[in-house]
């Protein structure tokens, strides 16, 4: 079972968990908006997520399908929020289910690592009254590449 969703609605963790609980092992990753402090400007007040409608869903489905094939998953779910949000809110949820724990855990790490570099989302922060687009990080490229 592959489930992919991009939405401006808050992520309902209980519903997402319930949808993937099958097999013997379930792993999840949830990313929350952090109130990062930017030097001299205070902390991030809001985060806005932009994406590429159509291409985003296709990219997430392709990642979920790759993980499902590679680790024989019984379920894979990727939910990403877009639009404006605040620190503490859920921005992304990845859930994987498999017969055994190693498969579920590795596939979950794979999906979030690859999502960071292979899905068309862009983050814009509001800090100290100004806005700025978040720069891509080399460490994310490295994390994604370890699964090649």
């Amino acid at each position: 079972m592959i489930r992919v969703r991009v939405s401006t609605e808050p992520i309902d963790l209980a519903a997402e968990m319930a949808s993937i609980e099958r097999g013997g092992a379930v792993a999840t990753f949830t990313g929350l908006v952090r109130a990062d402090v930017v030097e001299g400007q205070g902390s991030v007040a809001t985060l806005e997520l932009e994406h590429y409608p159509g291409a985003t869903e296709a990219a997430l489905e392709r990642l979920a399908a790759e993980a499902t094939a590679r680790w024989s998953l019984s379920a894979a779910s990727v939910v990403h929020r877009v639009g404006p949000m605040h620190p503490g809110e859920r921005i992304v949820f990845v859930g994987t289910a498999a017969e055994h724990r190693a498969a579920a855990l590795e596939a979950c790490a794979y999906l979030i690592d690859r999502l960071k570099t292979h899905a068309p989302f862009w983050k814009k922060e509001t800090v100290g009254g100004g806005t700025r687009w978040v720069d891509a990080r080399g460490s994310d490229d490295a994390a994604a590449a370890r699964w090649d």
Partner: protein
């Protein structure tokens, strides 16, 4: 050909998408960006540093030297920062 822009590329261009008809010698995404840079100051600012650009042709991610012949939709944007 439909061209889409995202994030700061969209902001600099001043539009999320436009219809364009590039001349025949515009063969790759990089050629397209260079050609688009001549349309306005905003376009010029958006495409000034090709190393900071990424692209998709008909929703498939491609390197900037990928051909655009026959493409219906080309998207140009910064490196992605989701998750």
């Amino acid at each position: 050909m439909r061209v889409l822009y995202f994030a700061w590329v969209r902001e600099r261009v001043g539009a999320g998408e436009e219809e364009v008809t590039p001349p025949g010698e515009v063969a790759t995404v990089a050629d397209l960006a260079a050609w688009l840079a001549g349309r306005s100051e905003g376009h010029a600012a958006a495409f000034a540093e090709p190393a900071r650009l990424r692209a998709a042709v008909d929703q498939a991610f491609v390197p900037l030297d990928a051909p655009i012949a026959g493409a219906r939709e080309v998207a140009i944007f910064p490196p992605v920062t989701g998750g």
